[in-house]
């Protein structure tokens, strides 16, 4: 998987909703290729009989009582909003 193309960089950037300049695409293509080459060592290992670890602790289901409690007011929840219309976040048309 080592080495990714310019199109790969653009594809991944689109998936991640990042608008990149041409210079950024060039720079990241080189850097990401080097990093991917370094991390590709994991593919050497045969791990078909090793289960995956998603989480370092063996906890199952943390339950909480479903009890109403005070939460943020509308004004608090919107305090950092870039744009607000009544009790909605306002954004450009989709």
């Amino acid at each position: 998987m080592a080495g990714i193309s310019r199109d790969d960089v653009l594809h991944v950037a689109r998936l991640a909703r990042l608008e990149l300049t041409d210079d950024e695409v060039t720079k990241f293509q080189g850097q990401l290729s080097a990093i991917l080459e370094a991390v590709s060592t994991v593919s050497e290992l045969d791990l078909s009989d090793v289960p995956p670890t998603a989480h370092p602790l063996e906890i199952e289901n943390a339950w909480a009582e479903d009890v109403p409690r005070p939460s943020l007011s509308h004004d608090e929840a919107f305090a950092n909003a870039p744009d607000r219309e009544e009790n909605l976040f306002r954004v450009p048309p989709a």
């Binding site: 998936l15 370094a38 060592t41 994991v42 602790l57 870039p82």
Partner: protein
């Protein structure tokens, strides 16, 4: 009141002075503000210094890494994305500090979204190492470590994903604990990689570190990954009789470890033996060989998901765009610096269709191997030791253009993070006039064993935590 030497005063000593009413909370706070005024223009440890009531409390002052949300006080995570963000609630760790009367001095510098090993990725400029301001303080928590080493705070909170508490502590000559995963709440903390992120203390002494850990740890209903934590014991023993210390070969012989670092660590291990510890060699072959690769698949994958929330809608930066999609893409281009962009793309790639099994899926299996290797080592040993960082503090700018070289700084801290284990770094000597960190790793929830071992070593090492250039 006698003059307060903020370079030497420990939190424990500050507590005694306050309890004996030899100083007031205001006098103590003012002494640190004066030190910040004097030395922070050079160090740039702080992004924000608290004034008046926003500091809260009247007890021991504390500095807070700027990824930890503080009600009414700006929290930028070192990013332009959150330049104007002011949280409307406190992180659980802040609530706990406030409940103990701790008084916030300010918010400390960090690599953007805690991604980095030098604090040079901060959108607000780098922090300088108090031992030598031409060098980095480590990262991502370089601000907290530099604040403690520079006498700008008696202690501080940091956060650690792959080494962001331990490595800066090593480079700045202080004591840093990355606690066991699940012992400290992340509620209200800016998320980077959720299966790895932990909040922890940075201090001048092991006892201060243990005390601050006792304040912030414990189950939190707002973070379902937290669990009940064993009672913290402030260490007192001066010897290491009955303690089995393992020296993992690969963590101590890894390529890139500087000779001066190796020597200082070897002397600390000999000292442990002279204090009564049983010292033996052990092995973590695949943890070290594949740990870094495993981390740089898993952490960016989780980061790409966590950082999807920065879309210009609910909080943080918004750039202009003709439609919604354009607004989001421009916001993310303008708000994120290079390192978050690299990691978001790396993570998106690792998780993308067709590559998932070979990348993320494989890394999760490697994580199981790393956990098993550590479990096996802890059948014979109570504590494992190694250098914290392969090198002492390096020159500012030396690695900024080579992300892969920067990532290698965390070679020795990453494996235990992947296994969810606690790790403590203490200063164990100097190399080229700069501090060397000794890393102590324990089984999950064995913080007390780390405190005990590190406290005895700290006494015997007698390392002077005040940077040489500040000594009068």
């Amino acid at each position: 009141m006698s003059a307060i030497d903020t370079l030497r005063l420990t939190a424990e000593e500050a507590k005694k002075l306050l309890e004996a009413r030899e100083v007031s909370g205001d006098e103590l706070f003012a002494a640190y503000l004066a030190a910040i005024g004097e030395r922070d223009p050079e160090l740039h440890a702080y992004l924000y210094v608290c004034a008046g009531a926003e500091s809260g409390g009247d007890g021991i002052p504390i500095a807070i890494k700027d990824v930890i949300g503080t009600k009414g006080v700006p929290t930028t995570a070192g990013s332009k994305m959150l330049e104007s963000y002011v949280p409307v609630y406190d992180a659980t760790v802040i609530e706990r500090c406030k409940a103990h009367g701790l008084r916030m001095l300010g918010k400390t510098n960090t690599d953007e979204f805690a991604m980095g090993s030098s604090t040079e990725n901060s959108a607000y400029g780098p922090t300088h190492n108090p031992w030598d301001p031409t060098r980095v303080p480590g990262g991502s928590g370089g601000g907290s470590a530099a604040a403690v080493a520079g006498g700008l705070a008696p202690w501080a909170l940091g956060s650690d994903t792959g080494g962001s508490i331990k490595q800066p502590a090593a480079l700045c000559g202080n004591v840093g604990l990355r606690p066991t995963y699940g012992t400290v709440s992340r509620y209200g903390v800016v998320a980077f990689a959720s299966s790895l992120d932990q909040v922890g203390p940075v201090a001048k002494t092991v006892r201060d570190c243990a005390y601050l850990y006792s304040i912030i740890s414990g189950r939190d209903a707002n973070d379902s990954t937290t669990v009940d934590v064993p009672q913290v014991e402030l260490p007192t023993a001066q010897d290491l009789r009955g303690v089995r210390v393992g020296v993992p070969k690969e963590l101590n012989d890894a390529e890139g470890i500087e000779p001066g670092v190796r020597d200082a660590v070897r002397k600390a291990v000999e000292l442990a033996e002279s204090l009564g510890a049983e010292v033996g060699e052990c092995s973590l072959p695949r943890s070290v060989e594949y740990g870094l690769a495993c981390y740089y698949l898993i952490a960016p994958a989780e980061a790409s998901s966590n950082l999807a929330r920065y879309d210009g809608v609910r909080y943080g930066l918004r750039d202009q765009g003709a439609d919604f999609r354009e607004m989001v893409m421009r916001t993310r281009d303008a708000g994120f610096g290079d390192e978050p962009k690299r990691r978001i793309m790396l993570g998106t790639y690792a998780l993308s269709s067709g590559y998932y099994d070979a990348n993320y899926g494989k890394a999760q299996r490697v994580r199981t191997l790393i956990k098993r290797e550590h479990d096996a080592a802890f059948e014979s040993f109570d504590v494992l030791v190694s250098p914290t960082s392969p090198t002492v503090a390096f020159e500012l700018g030396a690695k900024v253009d080579n992300p892969l070289a920067m990532y290698l700084n965390d070679l020795l801290t990453i494996p235990s993070c992947m296994a969810g284990l606690p790790g403590l770094s203490i200063p164990c000597g100097l190399s080229e006039g700069l501090p060397v960190g000794l890393q102590l790793i324990g089984p999950q929830f064995a913080e007390n064993a780390l405190f005990r071992t590190a406290h005895a070593l700290e006494g015997a090492l007698a390392f002077d935590v005040v940077p040489e250039r500040y000594r009068s």
